[in-house]
Symmetry: C2
Subunit: 507 residues, 2 copies
């Protein structure tokens, strides 16, 4: 069993941008980083769900290069566990088939017997025990060299999902698993109604379990072009010999590391070639590319509650409603609304007599739509992109491993931030070429390094950091440090920062 345990890996797909949860989701804060249901964010819940069942060093997050650092910071609050979790970075998103193929390359180098559990990072599965019990079953099927998927018993005639059609009986030597007859395209309403009353139709959950050798072989059969490119990438990545990671499971740092997949600024390097090859791949889902074509798929009928949180209205499935069918969160006052979702933060949202509406409020943007139009929120995000705006990119408040900052106001020639530093935390040693900064401490005590000086700034004291001066802000105390930072300058973007030393690897 130890050998088996060492060979089981969780591949968490976290490349999605989740525009459908705008304005709460942003490019720098996609759906998997949102805390919309359950006790934590969706990504951290996904990790916690398999932690203990899977060795921490066998948990992999697959995401795109541009999201990786934010996700690393995001999981940092998981403590020592977070340090063991590994990242596989795609140069850019190419849908699930290439992402899973890339992960399979990595795992297959460790052992051809590796079993990979592929999980989206942004689904809601409240009952971990039932999930793990299903997972045990799925692993047995994968160990016998089958592709295994999880099917969800439909609770409504959903026309937005693909379905799985199963045979009637369990597999002989794999009690509880059933044979998949075929994958079915999204049905019309009438067909969906008939599926709902037929025991052999299930929703396709997007959770898969298989051996890496098996999925690579299926890719070779059904997506030969992807397979070919993956092989090219493999030879570029792993040119210095075979990884043998399982011999040193607790020292991931000392592994024989592959070359970096993405170094876009160095054309002609192996990394740049890999990135180019990856970018050339067809964007295709694993469902369409493999699952619908393979003849060797088994299914675990899920006994757990599940939602893919495909849109704001999916909250109706996973959050308890009040007597009027409403979900009201945050600073809200409502008079007589019905079956509506009102998601607010600190600002007041007052609603009167809404019916089947969704209202989502954030510090810089508010969405108001009937439930039936909720899919069109993507179009809003598209308009924001086209108009070169910012409300789809970043939130006013940005979480960092050292705490957070909130942009309180931007004006001509100035920007005001509240910066919150956790006890013991330290920003990077840095300087700005184009802005000066006034800091006023409003709670806690700051230790400030400025050129060769180091001094304390207490609550109700201030200090000034001129342009081009190296400086560092630290919270040496045991309570939260909060400073109000008033930046002055003609250019006030985040990228005017030169880092010389950083506790979080950002130099």
């Amino acid at each position: 069993m130890t050998q088996l345990l060492n060979n089981i890996h969780a591949i968490i797909l976290a490349g999605g941008s989740g525009t459908r949860f705008w304005p709460l989701s942003r490019e720098t804060c996609p759906k998997q980083m949102l805390h919309i249901v359950g006790e934590d964010t969706l990504l951290r819940q996904t990790i916690k769900r398999v932690n203990g069942f899977i060795l921490p060093e066998n948990i992999w997050i697959v995401t795109t290069e541009d999201k990786a650092q934010d996700l690393k910071f995001h999981i940092d609050s998981l403590g020592p566990l977070a340090k063991k979790i590994q990242f596989i970075k795609e140069p850019l998103g190419r849908n699930t088939a290439p992402a899973i193929g890339l992960a399979a390359l990595y795992l297959n180098r460790l052992s051809t017997d590796s079993i990979m559990i592929v999980m989206p990072s942004d689904h809601a599965i409240p009952d971990t025990e039932k999930f793990l019990s299903g997972l045990n079953l799925a692993i047995k099927g994968a160990d016998k060299n089958h592709l295994v998927t999880f099917g969800i018993k439909p609770s409504r005639p959903e026309t937005g999902y693909g379905y799985i059609k199963t045979g009637n009986k369990s597999i002989n030597n794999l009690n509880g698993l059933v044979k998949v007859e075929r994958f079915v395209e999204k049905p019309d309403l009438q067909t969906a109604m008939s599926y709902l009353s037929n025991d052999n139709y299930f929703w396709n959950s997007g959770i898969f379990v298989w051996k890496t050798s098996k999925i690579l072989s299926e890719i070779q059969t059904h997506l030969p072009s992807l397979y070919h490119t993956l092989k090219e990438i493999e030879s570029l990545l792993f040119d210095s010999g075979k990884l043998n990671r399982l011999e040193k499971p607790n020292k991931p740092d000392k592994l024989n590391k592959p070359n970096k997949l993405n170094e876009p600024n160095k054309p002609g390097t192996r990394s740049a070639l890999c990135a180019m090859r990856y970018a050339s791949l067809e964007s295709i889902s694993i469902d369409y590319g493999i699952m619908e074509r393979s003849s060797d798929v088994l299914m675990v009928p899920a006994t757990f509650q599940w939602s893919d949180l495909g849109s704001w209205t999916a909250l109706d499935e996973v959050i308890e409603k009040n007597d009027s069918g409403n979900i009201l969160k945050g600073n809200t006052i409502d008079i007589g609304s019905q079956n509506s979702i009102v998601f607010s933060g600190e600002r007041l949202v007052a609603t009167i007599g809404l019916k089947d509406m969704v209202v989502v409020d954030t510090p810089d943007a508010t969405l108001i739509t009937p439930k039936e139009k909720v899919q069109e929120v993507r179009k809003i995000v598209e308009i924001l992109k086209q108009n070169g705006r910012e409300e789809h990119l970043i939130h006013r408040t940005v979480e960092r491993p050292w705490g957070s900052y909130t942009v309180l106001e931007k004006g001509q020639g100035y920007k005001i931030k509240r910066v919150s530093l956790n006890p013991g935390a330290k920003l990077s040693l840095q300087l700005h070429r184009k802005r000066s900064e006034h800091w006023v401490v409003v709670s806690g005590t700051a230790r400030v390094m400025k050129e060769n000086d180091t001094y304390l700034v207490h609550t109700n004291e201030s200090t000034y950091i001129p342009v081009n001066i190296k400086h560092r802000l630290e919270n040496p105390g045991e309570v939260l440090l909060q400073i109000i930072e008033v930046q002055n300058g003609e250019y006030l973007e985040e990228d005017d920062i030169e880092r010389f030393s950083d506790d979080y690897g950002r130099t």
Copy 2:
């Protein structure tokens, strides 16, 4: 005609709180101070409408004591005109009959031949020329000692208004004026439909013209108790002899001023007695108390467009809609909404497929309601009051005669404001007992007086004002001065201010 002109006064009723336009209206920023339609705020438009027709020193604003200073600051932008406008302050609101009675007392002291034009301060009348032409007609009727009202030809079967039923023909010697047969209570829909197709029914506009002696005599007849109390108040107010204001029309400062009506902190004084007597009055409208009971009312059939802006949906009457019937103002993105009103400021409001909805966004509160429920916004304000909240009291940005300030954030032990000072403006010489202030100049140059020092603080410089230190902020330059003020202290309310000298009479 000069004698007549000297005798004509405009009484602008500006005591309303306008909860129906929440969240844009607040207790400290009632509907009359809103810029929702036309080229200026409703109150300033009302003043401009009669300015030139009425002598500036004959324009009076009747409001409650607690609103008077904000209204004075509010009209300050009208320049020299504003300085001539006089205020009549009620100790508290008692509806229109007492307010008009009180104004009549003041004017009747000036001349018993005074004609008063009574106008609400928060109505929309886009066509000034037609309005003044109607006013000329009304004044002729008032001069002949009639009560004159303005009737509006109904454009829809409105059930929310009272109606005026007129006779068929013009008065013999007052061509254009018609005799009012009676005032009619708010009708049901069927009755309203029949009024719509009957030439003799008009909406009651709330605009009245009469001699002060005439209205006082009508009050004596129909509201004897009000008359009695007004007489008591008159003898308390004007104990030092008859006002003879018309002899010195350009020097209102040197008038033989009446005692103050309201000095609540000095019980036993004449002012306190006045306030007590006024507070004891029955709250009653002029329509119900006088107009419905008098037999001597003429009506000017208004030829101008008019709206009382009774609720957010009234905007549909006075603001041009787009092709989909929407009114979209401010930072909005809409996909496919119909017949909806979206009022936003700087924050983004994104709407999809709304139908007959009202959305109003402000920096600290957002309202969302179907048009048919828009009257219930009062209930929201009631809930805010009951819960001791602030979103109905004051806006984040407060206009002052010297500029404005915006509260950017309040936190435990600190508050952050952006303070904008107009060129040449100067705050009061002041000190704070419970807070210190850090000022960072982000545009312009400040002159700071601190104890016995006076010094300049330029853009990107800062200064510190400790607790209990007299200080003064001034903009000596020719461009806007903007400072970011970070207040520190356990108590951070506006009332922690001792003023020693002030350009705006607030010491």
